[in-house]
Amino acid sequence: MPAIKEYDIIMKIIKRLHQPLLCTALVALVALTGCKSGESTESLPNTQNPGTGQYSGPAPATADVQAFKLNVWDNLSQGNRCGECHNSSGQSPRFAHEGDVNIAYAQANPVVNLDDPGNSALVTKVAGGHNCWLSSDQACADAITSMITGWAGGSSGSVNRIELEAPALRDPGGTLPFPESSGTFSTTVYPLLTTYCSDCHADGDTRPYLASGNVDTAYDAAKSRMSLTAPFSSRLVERLRDDRHNCWNNSCEDSADEMEAEIQALADSVNPADVDPDLVTSKALTLGGDGLLANSGGRFEDHVIALYEFKTGEGTTAFDTSGIEPSMHLTLSGNVEWVGGYGLSFGPAFTDDGTSVRSGKAQATTGNSRKLHNLLTASGEYSLEAWIVPANVTQEEARIVTYSGSAMARNLTLGQTLQNYDVLQRSTTTDQNAVFSTEDGANRLQASLQHVVVNFTPDQGREIYINGEHTGDVDPAPGGLLSEWDNNFALVLGNETDGNSPWEGSLRLVAFHNRALTPAQIRTNFEAGVGQKYYLLFGVSHLIDVPQAFIVFEVSQFDSYSYLFTQPFFVSLDDDAAPSGIPLEGMKLGINGRETLTGQAWSLLDIELNSGDYVAGRGQVLSRQGTIIPVEGGPAADEFFLSFERLGDHQNVVVEGSLPPAPTLPELPEAPEVGLKNFDAINATMARLTGVPMTNNEVSDTFDTVRQQLPSVANIEGFLASQQMAITQMAIGYCNEMVEDTTLRSAFFDTGFDFNLPAGSAFDGGNLDLLTGPLIDKMVGDSLAFQPLAADLETELGELTDTLSACSDCNTTERTETVVKASCAAVLGSATTLIH
């Protein structure tokens, strides 16, 4: 029998000290429309502005009635909304009583929950399909929530109390276990992998080795990337369908379908099975069916004038649920997708199978966008707040949120350039595109979820806050007024109005406030987070001797592909109970009947549940950490449970299996038997052969100059002309220094070569042998079969000296030295010393 206890998580509602000045202005904007009746669940879209006449009844009796009027009554009492039926002569409750707002206030109180506006009967009724004036019941519910929240802000001392309620207890359902052997895999998924993925994912290439030559290795790698319960959500399928990752036959959709079909075939070969009986499991829960709402308010939204929470999750309209009219709904076009757990994802233009899709964009009408102009120019300040997930840090001049008319005309833009946020704005002190960016090199923008607030006030100009902290960047433009804003522009998310500055990423929330948020308010909104959070209470009383015992997680859908589980704690809903010396080891998250293969954060947990760490009503914290696990069938379908290696007296001894087979290393093509010497070896070789030390200034200068031009790897097939040129310069440098130094040259040419003879006779007859002999003996080596034959070298060197010495007016000793240097360099810089 479920018990209800108050849980001491207290979420303070931010007090709202000032109601928006705009409310009175809004009165003039609304217009009366026709009437609807009954409690039909039929959707009644109505895009007209609400209407209200001038209120002429009794004045609000109290400040709270006044707050009710400004926030709720003014927005709902019109004939095209609740005022159609819940008026002075209509259905009860008559909270839209047009004649006396004090009566309306009294009628409203029983159907609102100021502590938890989202749980007001007024909200849940509409959310359940009761005469929403928009195409989305959720959007109407959110709008009314905003209105009640605005009203509640005027009440003092309100706190939110999250009550933990025991869920229905049930055992984890069955699962589709992976087959023990790779047999079926080898005939279903594996052929696709080896056919289309082996260029990269074969043995020894890029992990995972999905296309390994060993099918067991491939199967082992593929398991964590296949979902037998929801093949469409398998990583192998999503990589093709969503990421367009190396599809085949020019169609990612077809490729994904083919892969999904093979995984389905593998799944079909498996008989559903109960949860592994060896597992020690908790009771099971689903997020949609068993989750307790864990957040209700906590954001500061006193001055919000436009709010996008992107909760709808389908369709082509993103609703402005601020409750401030006119509603500035956005029309989605191009590559825009809804993000699970609330949000919009903007993608690039693409073509698949002949179909072209433009880059994503969400745009409001110019008329509705005028709300921004009217309300922000009136206040002269603003906060633009957004939860942003840039898809990458490489895009430039990409528009995240813009209120503009064209690429070159705007009132306000928040954009991305690499790892910087850009704020472009028009004011009386700037042109219409004045740029203010986060500091280069600070890398403020990261491709992860970030809370970004752009503040503007006439005093401070623009300021940027990221994740609750001021970046410290100072607006180069002095503050000014917004009075020159153009009221013919449109609000666009994810792109420029012309569609030519697409931004890739996700927006989880966007809000405009017509007062600049204070740093504390910004921090509050950052800490409130984004998306709907739930508590999941996993029952464990069947495992331990503690009544109504649960392990509780705060859970949310992190993005379209994963759930976030955080901050587990143990608690008994029986205030008189407490654990005593209960060991808890190796806690794992399970989904749809089996432990998830990735994202386990508490599998090494080793803790004792004991009364010393336990506080009645608060429980015992198990960990401050969180983790994400993959979505399979979606929040409504996925069933979670916990498993334990040990909890109390129950134990599941986990023994790690044997190692999977090692990847088979491929045979490499036969490599050349010889290779190049590297730069240091060449230098050392030349020094050793010539006797010129490497520290000689001339040669060391040359070496420093050409060092990185010389070979650095042995692969002879990579030899380059530039390397040969560097070697040449080194050889000439060394030979030059040797010949110039009479001691060194005498030591080298110990055969007595006569440098005092002019070139015309220095190489005649036997004199040539005095040159070639030392060159060949000392640089090439003697009696080495892999070196050239000495006779061939002598012939070549003879031809060389003949050529070089046969010139007019050069029968000098200087020429003789030159020819010797050339001959030396020819041998020293040749392959005989370069390769080994």
């Binding site: 979820l449 190692l659 036969e670 200068d701 002879i716 080495l784 070089l804 050339a822």
Partner: protein, 432 residues
């Protein structure tokens, strides 16, 4: 080799149009024999180079000795040394011949230096000055020390020749001067106690990982994960890609790692997590280290938060860099000390061969260095690196891999003397 090719090879030098631009070139070589542009000649030259090689494939003892010497040292042997080596080979002891070759200073100045130099920088280029990392590797090889000490011992090698600036924790001048002097590195390095020269507590030393060069390369900026990754690459011959395992626990992955990069958590679960599951719990060993510099990274030094110190950014001994970008995922791991754990003792990476006599966890870089250096992967990596350096190719077939296993066994039984691996690799690749 035919005469035409040889003639061409010689003339290419004489025809180099860039000769006159060589700094300090006073050779005044004649310019009347300038042939084709070098770029046109390169393919021909390459073809000629290859044409030179067949004789090397079927070499006699003398040729084997010459090749062995050149592969081990980069320079040709003197005739006397060649004779000695030939005799050893002829006597059936090519390993002894290799040890003769390794007496040549070029073995240290060229070969070992170029083995280690790429390990000392992120670009993995050998074009870097001599530094304390490289010198320490050379010294350990020369002294035939247990090479595993390279990752955890309190050891440093400094120059012991005159006229050098003293070792300085703020610059590399000492080693650059030593290199510029042309000193024989096999004879001019002195083993010293690292902590004495760097000021680190002895328990904070971890071989080359705590040298100044390594700190400049891998502790600079960032999150210190670079030290782990490059140590893994340079000493276990695995990049993170090869050891990625998404099935390991994610509990030690820090807050700075986005769980939904670009809004897609699949990327984290299937890619990022694969590396970080193992890396982050081990890189925690470096939590107290940083490399501090002002404007010029060349003039900075390794710093370490010793016992009792409190880092102003963290309030603990942990460097501030370990807690940066904490809002990327606030539920991630918060580093509070330098406790490391080797999660790769679970899962596929058990195959790296961890030492069962070690606990697989510890505190600080020294014990992590021991964990890494005592793995099978370390020994295999060192032998593989030496093999590739001496044989000029990767082990490519079953015979090569079998030989590699054999050399690893010898490396172990020798007490992890790297020269042994050099000698046996050179013997294997000396030609037939």
């Amino acid at each position: 080799m035919d005469a035409r090719s040889w003639s061409f090879l010689m003339r290419i030098f004489l025809g180099n149009p860039r000769l006159k631009r060589i700094p300090g070139n006073r050779s005044g070589l004649p310019d009347n024999t300038r042939p084709k542009a070098p770029a046109q000649q390169a393919p021909l030259l390459l073809a000629m180079l290859v044409a030179l090689t067949p004789a090397a494939l079927y070499a006699g003892d003398r040729e084997q000795a010459a090749r062995m010497h050149s592969r081990l040292t980069g320079v040709p042997p003197s005739e006397a040394v060649l004779q000695q080596m030939t005799t050893e080979i002829d006597g059936g002891d090519p390993v002894a011949a290799a040890y003769i070759a390794m007496d040549d200073p070029a073995f240290y100045n060229v070969t070992v230096k170029n083995l280690a130099a790429p390990w000392t920088n992120e670009a993995m280029t050998p074009f870097v000055p001599l530094n304390d990392y490289t010198a320490t590797v050379i010294g350990l090889v020369r002294d035939e020390a247990d090479f595993r000490n390279v990752l955890y011992d309190n050891v440093l090698y400094i120059g012991d020749t005159g006229g050098l600036p003293a070792y300085n924790t703020n610059n590399n001048a000492h080693y650059e001067a030593l290199e510029a002097s042309g000193a024989d590195l096999g004879d001019s390095l002195q083993r010293v106690t690292q902590s004495t020269y760097t000021g680190l507590p002895s328990q904070a030393t971890a071989g080359v990982m705590t040298t100044r060069a390594a700190a400049q390369a891998f502790f600079i900026d960032g999150t210190n994960r670079a030290m782990f990754r490059f140590t893994l690459m340079n000493h276990l011959c695995n990049d993170l890609e090869q050891v990625a395992d998404v099935t390991l626990p994610v509990d030690r992955i820090r807050q700075d790692v986005s769980r939904s990069p670009g809004g897609d958590s699949r990327v984290f679960l299937n890619n990022c997590a694969g590396c970080h599951t193992g890396m982050d719990p081990m890189a925690q060993a470096f939590a107290y280290y940083d490399y501090e510099y002002d404007d010029n990274p060349e003039l900075g030094e390794l710093v370490y938060n010793t016992t009792g110190m409190t880092d102003p950014d963290t309030g603990t001994r942990v460097q501030g860099k370990y807690l940066i970008n904490a809002t990327n995922f606030e539920h991630g791991y918060i580093t509070r000390d330098d406790q490391w754990d080797n999660y790769w003792r679970m899962g596929d990476n058990r195959r790296l061969g961890w030492d069962g006599s070690l606990p697989g966890s510890g505190e600080g870089a020294k014990s992590l260095g021991r964990e890494l250096a005592h793995s099978d992967a370390f020994a295999q990596c060192k032998v593989r690196q030496v093999f590739e350096q001496v044989c000029l190719r990767k082990p490519g077939d079953a015979a090569d891999r079998s030989e590699l296993d054999s050399i690893v066994s010898s490396f172990r039984s020798s007490g992890f003397e790297l020269k042994r691996a050099y000698a046996e690799s050179a013997a294997y690749c000396m030609g037939e």
